[in-house]
């Protein structure tokens, strides 16, 4: 039996800076990965942290990492050509084919864009991309991630980019993601699908808006963020009720996730 805890070195192919705090590390990886899955990345001198896959290529995965205090700082001293220890992918991930036909709305907040970036990319390539809606929310204009992707998606599908708050004179949308749902130009909310990823209060109120608009509970999917220390269903940190987010999730249908109470 092989030891699933053993991490392997993976080469840093590129480092993309999004904001002062957020960077994407493009890591060499050969194998099958789905959007919404995550890797356990060894953060030097700290330990392992679960990081969502924010991009997938034939020989790489993108990991978007936020510099939040002391613990993850060391990783930002790495350079292209050096490597990080990691293991994965873990979790169920999104089944992209569920969202490719018909009307779909993706709502993502902050780093919650990472797990759905691959989903949005797939939606932007569909024949009826005009029926695909994306609402991406960030704390402030300085916190906007994946700017190049957002620009690209804007021409292909219906994109609403919004910030919670902005300095005076800001030209874009200001307001929480929830305020745009009521006015979405949907043909049939009862058959449309929704994907919601973000902080717990954002997901809660976004889903309330979708249900008000007439969405069916079984047509809503969420991705849960928890502290997954092992990714293997052993360490217990991500358990909610009888589910383990790392192996049963992190993607859950709302009919299932509404029964999960922390």
């Amino acid at each position: 039996m092989s030891n699933a805890y053993v991490p392997s070195p993976s080469k840093i192919l590129d480092i993309i800076k999004h904001t002062e705090k957020e960077y994407t590390f493009r890591m060499e990886f050969h194998g099958s990965v789905k959007p919404g899955q995550f890797f356990e990345v060894s953060i030097p001198k700290y330990g392992e942290a679960p990081i969502s896959v924010s991009g997938i290529g034939s020989d790489f995965v993108d990991l978007t990492i936020r510099k939040v205090g002391r613990v993850t700082n060391e990783i930002f001293e790495k350079w292209i050509g050096s490597s990080l220890l990691m293991r994965g992918p873990y979790g169920n991930g999104f089944d992209v084919s569920l969202f490719e036909n018909g009307e779909t709305v993706v709502v993502a907040g902050g780093t919650g864009v990472s797990p759905v970036r691959g989903v949005i990319d797939a939606l932007s390539r569909t024949a009826d991309a005009k029926d695909k809606h994306v609402i991406a929310g960030f704390r402030s204009p300085d916190d906007i991630l994946f700017r190049k992707d957002l620009e690209r998606w804007d021409g292909l599908l219906d994109l609403i980019l919004t910030v919670d708050g902005a300095p005076e004179g800001y030209q874009g949308n200001v307001g929480l993601v929830t305020k745009y749902i009521a006015d979405l130009p949907l043909k049939d909310a009862a058959s449309a699908r929704a994907v919601v990823v973000g902080l717990p209060p954002m997901m809660k109120f976004t889903i309330i808006e979708f249900l008000k608009k007439g969405f069916q509970e079984e047509n809503i999917w969420v991705s849960q963020e928890r502290k997954m220390c092992c990714g293997l269903g052993k360490c217990g940190h991500c358990r909610i009720g009888s589910k383990y987010v790392c192996v049963d999730g992190p993607v859950f249908n709302y009919t299932e996730s509404k029964l999960l109470i922390d």
């Binding site: 039996m1 936020r66 502290k227 092992c230 360490c235 940190h237 009888s242 922390d262």
Partner: protein
């Protein structure tokens, strides 16, 4: 096959077995308890069989033989990763019936949950052999009878307990018969004793409705519980851990990865990047723990997680009783059900 041994004879058998096994057993640590001049019974590897304590209840469980409080998994040297070594010798573990049941709970999490077995757990698990300590009487705080964990029929090499005529052993491993026969004071039928009744009794609800999450029963723990996590550290069925890397101060390019026991009762357990935290209050944590022990685990694995050893009740510095909490939960479940029936009628 039953044998009666003197303590000296028993010690001699353990000494003989020590050539093949490391002995892991409850040991009375005199004066090492939490308060001045108090004792504690903890598990340890013993070299002197005279240290093995079979008459008292152990304050801590056997689980640390499987997953120590702090366990080095890997050594790092630059990009090289090496698994920590493990002694090439089988281990003989002394435990009571409740702990034999707890072992099955540990197996469920480490071997059955998720797609793969835990490699480090499997490595030590395959080396374990067991000695059952009989329970001629129930101890204070035990509620194993209510939990159905007061007996085991097999899974041990031999049993030990203090009887009127000496140390009584029920030998299951035939290979040891010559050793036991040589040391025996007498040969008679021995059936390991088990607790037939406990002073503490619990009523475990069959089904726990989601509405119990909002019940005010959890509120008292907001003020009573101090979130120290001792209850989970002594629990034979708690399995949670956290990964931690340690780099050596005189060479920052070498270090080790450890897994350290964690607890859902302690601050920081659920923290995610950016400061998010789930279950901030002690009441919510108590609810999370209790429902895992008597409901959530059962939903996944078919049996209750709690084995009723009552160690959590013994160790709590705030005198919070887990068994009382189970009974309160059962009462709240009944009250809610009756309330609903009342509404319908």
């Amino acid at each position: 096959m039953g044998f009666i041994l003197s303590r000296e004879g028993f010690n001699e058998i353990i000494t003989q077995l020590s050539s093949k096994y490391r002995i892991y057993a409850p040991v009375l640590k005199k004066g090492e308890g939490r308060f001045t001049d108090t004792d504690v019974v903890m598990y340890d590897f013993v070299s002197d069989p005279g240290e093995i304590e079979i008459d008292r209840k152990s304050d801590y469980s056997f689980k640390n033989v499987l997953v120590p409080f702090s366990q080095t998994l890997f050594y790092f040297a630059e990009e090289a990763v090496k698994e920590a070594d493990f002694p090439d010798k089988d281990i003989l573990v002394f435990l009571r019936a409740c702990d034999m049941h707890a072992l099955r709970r540990q197996d469920a999490i480490y071997l059955e949950n998720g797609a793969e077995e835990d490699w480090f757990y499997r490595r030590v698990r395959d080396r374990l052999h067991f000695v059952l300590i009989g329970c001629p009487a129930s101890f204070e705080d035990c509620f194993c009878v209510s939990m159905g964990t007061n007996r085991v029929a097999d899974g041990y090499m031999f049993s030990v307990e203090t009887a009127q005529d000496g140390i009584a052993c029920d030998l299951h491993d035939e290979e040891l018969a010559p050793l036991f026969t040589y040391q025996a004071e007498a040969v008679r039928t021995v059936v390991p004793s088990y607790a037939k009744e406990n002073d503490t009794k619990v009523d475990v609800p069959d089904q726990v409705p989601l509405s119990i999450y909002k019940d005010p029963l959890w509120d008292e723990y907001n003020s009573r519980c101090i979130g120290c996590g001792r209850c989970t550290l002594v629990c034979p069925t708690c399995t949670c851990y956290t990964m931690e890397d340690i780099y050596y101060t005189d060479n920052g390019r070498a270090g080790e990865r450890r897994r350290v026991q964690a607890s859902c009762m302690i601050d920081g357990y659920s923290n995610v990047a950016g400061g998010g935290q789930y279950r901030k209050t002690k009441g919510e944590r108590m609810r999370f723990k209790v429902l895992h022990k008597i409901s959530d685990f059962k939903a996944k694995f078919g049996c209750n997680m709690c084995v009723g050893c009552g160690r959590c009740d013994m160790v709590c510095p705030e005198y919070i009783s887990f068994s009382n909490c189970i009974n309160k939960t059962a009462a709240a479940v009944r009250a809610q059900a009756e309330g609903k029936e009342g509404e319908q009628a």
